[in-house]
């Protein structure tokens, strides 16, 4: 579904992303982990053609994303608040995205209904504009908006951050359900190793812009990741030595 070839992104003389090869099969859900500055958001921005690759390219469903815009109809994303229109109410925002994606009002209503437990009586149905909602509630709306119009590629940058525990559990349910759909390819980043290993079929670990680990999830993945981040593991010799063994629990800038 998605092929990444020889992709690099450089700013001045700092290389923030450098991926030789990465293939993502249709229907896979990828969990992307890495410390701050590892290049997760850069990769997502490149996937959405929001920044220009220095070299290489990404091909999504036979469309090269920095050449053609034909990837837009089947791709959706929620990366940060700049994907929200602050002066709309959540409902208006969802209808707006719906209209852009060719969905009727009824279809959007049905979707809101379907995920009413995710909203948990908040966010939707209050007399508030998106800009006045809490970060968590904003995120809920953004995530649901990314599900409108049955997209085939869904990109979520740190969807679990800022969510309350109940909503995190519900979101895990939603992601698992979507990832069981063979048409839907998902890319999710998170700093929470438990969440990632729980919802993803395949985990990609980025460090300083490079893929240092890429494996289909199994029972040992969580332990491996934890070990890596502790810096004890000797599995990733070259990089691990240079990496400060610290887990940063902040949100990325």
């Amino acid at each position: 579904m998605i092929q990444i070839n020889n992709l690099t992104k450089k700013y001045a003389d700092a290389t923030v992303l450098d991926i030789d090869q990465l293939q993502i099969q249709r229907g896979q859900s990828i969990g992307l982990v890495g410390n701050n500055g590892a290049g997760k958001t850069t990769l997502f921005s490149l996937l959405l053609d929001l920044i220009e690759p220095t070299t290489g390219h990404i091909i999504s469903n036979n469309v090269q994303v920095n050449q053609s815009e034909d990837w837009k109809p089947f791709t959706s994303a929620f990366v940060d608040e700049s994907f929200l229109i602050g002066y709309l109410t959540p409902e208006e925002y969802l209808y707006f995205i719906g209209e852009l994606r060719g969905q009727s009002r009824q279809a959007v209503d049905a979707l809101m209904d379907q995920y009413s437990d995710f909203f948990n009586g908040e966010a939707i149905g209050q007399k508030k504009y998106l800009r006045d909602l809490s970060k968590g509630n904003q995120k809920k709306v953004g995530i649901i908006a990314a599900l409108i119009g049955s997209p085939e590629v869904i990109i979520l940058d740190e969807p679990f951050a800022n969510l309350d525990p109940s909503t995190q559990i519900r979101l895990k349910g939603i992601i698992k359900e979507l990832s069981s759909d063979p048409r839907v390819t998902m890319l999710i980043s998170s700093h929470d190793l438990i969440h990632v290993t729980e919802v993803a079929d395949r985990v990609v670990l980025l460090e300083k812009g490079k893929v240092v680990m890429d494996k289909v999830k199994d029972a040992g993945t969580f332990a491996q990741l934890e070990q890596y981040f502790k810096g004890i593991s000797e599995l990733h010799v070259a990089d691990a030595a240079a990496v400060p063994p610290e887990i940063v629990n902040q949100e990325e800038e």
Partner: protein, 494 residues
């Protein structure tokens, strides 16, 4: 302790957005700030003599320059208040991090209010009043009276400053007051009712009774006390320090659906204007341009027809220029969303284009009152409107495509013109927007007749309509070429 506050202030000044520009720009800004102060000081110093001359020439009717100034001071202070309301921000944002530190609340409030006293809005009037007072002394006015008057003026300025502290966000009171002031101004101009007959003596009184500065001083003190207690009471995160939340109102805009796929954006644009302070201000300012033409009704311009053409373009196109010049920056805060959604640029642009056209038509209808000044004014307005719709709407969008300044929709800061929004390309585009119609007018008016001149302007506008799609195609191409730069520019926060 004062040192800590002062250091904080100094850093926030040095690191403010205005200073993050390049060096050349800093010099430019600094130059204009100083120029502005000097200009005010010069007005203060020379206005007395200029007015005196006008009185001697019989152009102005007043006993002496001082009386005339006193007469119009009420408008000075009214405008002062209006500007404060729009642009003087309460220093609330920087208070939050101080709250839990070991300062008393009183100190924090004093600091915040002291900061407002040092604002540009208080310094600028000082630069006018001080030289003016000196001139009065030189001219032999009673020193005690002049001093009293001077103190009174400064006290009133401070009074307005403190008034603004608790007047913030009282739109319902504010707009009617502005309307009233405008009405008073107009009725004075047309000599229906002259409020200055009543307010002039009040200001004169401060001079005649040297003790009377006590009154505004006392009032300023009371307002300051009140502002202090008001502020202090609100010093909680969930009270005064909380950002104001509006209750969301959803309006049914389904009637716009007749515009087809474009309606999605059009509905959004209507909401954009209705719900965002910055967009609302632009909208209102756009309509205030209708009165801009009055400047050109004075005798000074009577022989100059370009004034009429110019006025007509501004009266009918105020909204068009102020709003259209900032497309696509209006959508800057969610530009990433727009760029990753399946949005045809053409529909996006056409929605803005239609919005500008509709607003131009409305402005034109409202501008028709100029017909009272002569039928040629109506010709000018109509010709200007056709030119604006036909050519300027798309040319303005073209100019906007070069502007990559993110807009903070919720704040009015910078609403007065964004420094970065001026660049050579947008400047060059004022030629077809403003100068071309004047040239066309003169070519035909001087060879044929005035009517021919106006018809030629309108005809050029209609011709422009044919090129609309071509121009919009160019805009589209610019959007595409500069996509990454635009996204990066909009992502910058200041």
């Amino acid at each position: 302790m004062f040192k800590i506050f002062a250091r904080l202030e100094w850093k926030s000044f040095l690191r403010s957005a205005a200073f993050k520009q390049n060096l050349l720009f800093k010099i430019f800004i600094g130059f204009f700030a100083v120029l502005f102060l000097i200009e005010f000081a010069a007005i203060g110093a020379f206005s007395y003599f200029i007015i005196e001359e006008f009185i001697e020439d019989g152009k102005l009717a007043a006993a002496n320059p001082f009386a005339l100034i006193n007469k119009f001071l009420v408008y000075w202070f009214a405008i002062d208040l209006v500007f404060r309301y729009f642009f003087q921000k309460m220093p609330v944002a920087n208070i939050k991090p101080l709250l839990y530190l070991p300062f008393t609340k009183g100190k924090i409030v004093s600091y915040a209010m002291g900061k407002t006293v040092l604002s540009f809005f208080n310094i600028l009037p000082g630069f006018f009043f001080a030289p003016f007072t000196i001139v009065l002394l030189i001219e032999g006015y009673d020193p005690l009276g002049v001093l009293s008057w001077h103190i009174a003026m400064l006290c009133i300025t401070l009074l307005l400053n403190f008034l603004n502290v608790f007047l913030n966000n009282a739109d319902k009171v504010f707009y009617p007051v502005v309307a009233l002031i405008a009405l008073l101004g107009v009725s004075q101009y047309y000599q229906f009712f002259d409020i200055t007959d009543y307010t002039g003596p009040v200001f004169e009184f401060f001079y005649q009774q040297a003790w009377s500065f006590i009154l505004p001083l006392g009032l300023a003190y009371i307002t300051a006390r009140y502002a202090y207690t008001y502020f202090k009471k609100q010093l909680y995160l969930d009270d005064g320090l909380q950002a104001q939340h509006e209750t969301a109102k959803t309006e049914n805009l389904d009637f716009l659906n007749r515009f087809g796929t474009m309606s999605t954006y059009l509905k959004n644009d209507v909401k954009l204007i209705k719900r965002n302070k910055r967009a609302r201000t632009t909208f209102i300012m756009g309509f205030l341009f209708i009165f801009y033409g009055l400047f050109f009704t004075s005798d000074f311009y009577s022989g100059m027809d370009f004034g009429k053409v110019f006025a007509a373009l501004f009266c009918t196109g105020g909204f068009l220029f102020s709003f259209g010049g900032l497309v696509p920056s209006w959508d800057s805060s969610y530009y990433k969303l727009m760029m990753s959604q399946n949005i045809p640029y053409r529909d996006f642009l056409l929605s803005k284009w239609w919005l500008m056209v509709v607003m131009t038509v409305i402005s034109t209808a409202l501008s028709c009152f100029y017909v009272y000044l002569g039928i040629e004014w109506l010709y000018a307005i109509l010709a200007g409107a056709v030119y604006n719709i036909g050519l300027n709407a798309s040319v303005t969008l073209l100019g906007g495509a070069f502007v990559k300044t993110p807009i903070d929709l919720t704040s009015n800061k910078k609403a007065f013109g964004d420094s970065k929004a001026f660049n050579i390309k947008t400047l060059l585009l004022t030629i077809p927007k403003m100068i071309l119609p004047i040239v066309i007018y003169y070519v035909f008016a001087l060879t044929l007749s005035m009517e021919a001149g106006f018809i030629a302007i309108a005809a050029t506008g209609l011709l422009g309509l044919i090129f609309r799609n071509k121009i919009l195609g160019m805009v589209e191409q610019i959007y595409k070429n500069e996509k990454y730069d635009t996204i990066a520019a909009y992502a910058q926060k200041d």
